[in-house]
């Protein structure tokens, strides 16, 4: 089932409110607090990356966000209109020489939090999958 299928302009000022709005639509899934926190962070980082690094803050370019709920998993896809990137070429932010850097943690967090992450079309699309556990009680 598709829960979200929206296209937004590359405006950084819209990202946080957009992500918060998305999670209002996921309330019916009764996700636990930690899962909501982690999903929100990953979607936020992916949308920010798409606007900033993908579309280079070009307001004429768009970001497409699709969220699907399958039997026991949530699939979030974020697509920009930029030139793409090689996720394998990103430096490891936990390496001693990078730990003090001010950037480069977004994709690393996504890769470590989500259960499956794929980069499609040369990195224009990031597809993030989380296996869901319903809140007990």
């Amino acid at each position: 089932m598709t829960i979200v299928d929206e296209i937004i302009p590359s405006d950084m000022a819209l990202a946080s409110d957009f992500v918060s709005g998305v999670f209002e639509k996921l309330l019916f899934l009764s996700l636990d607090d930690a899962t909501v926190f982690n999903l929100k962070l990953c979607l936020h980082e992916a949308v920010v990356n798409a606007i900033k690094h993908g579309n280079k803050l070009n307001n004429a370019l768009r970001v497409h966000i699709i969220i699907n709920n399958e039997t026991n998993k949530l699939i979030m896809e974020v697509t920009d209109q930029g030139a793409g990137f090689d996720h394998n070429a990103l430096p490891d932010p936990t390496d001693e020489k990078n730990i003090m850097k001010y950037s480069g943690r977004g994709v690393y967090l996504i890769k470590n939090i989500m259960d499956d992450v794929k980069f499609i079309n040369n990195g224009q699309t990031i597809k993030m999958v989380k296996v869901l556990k319903k809140e007990e009680g």
Partner: protein, 110 residues
Amino acid sequence: MDIKLENIKDVALVVVGGKINMDNCNELRDAFKKILKEGKTKVLIDFNKVDFIDSSGIASLIEMFQNLEKVGGQMRLCHVNKNIIGLFEITKVHKLFGMFENREEALKEF
């Protein structure tokens, strides 16, 4: 994000609330600059009311940590919720910041 600055003896206490993200982390940077300008070198950040932080927010903490390190200062965090601790652990920045259960425990370690 709410930021309140207080002093506990020679320690600058920064009480933060809400979300620390790319929209507002410059406000936190400005608060840190003010503390450094006042010559304070011991900083305790109370995360009790922080419910979200993104990679930009983490970067602002690293920047403060570095600035304090340059002047021989120290930075401690307290009341950090388990979701945020999880992010610090994934990115290994928890090794940089001393993290404590509460203000009292953190103050003891300066």
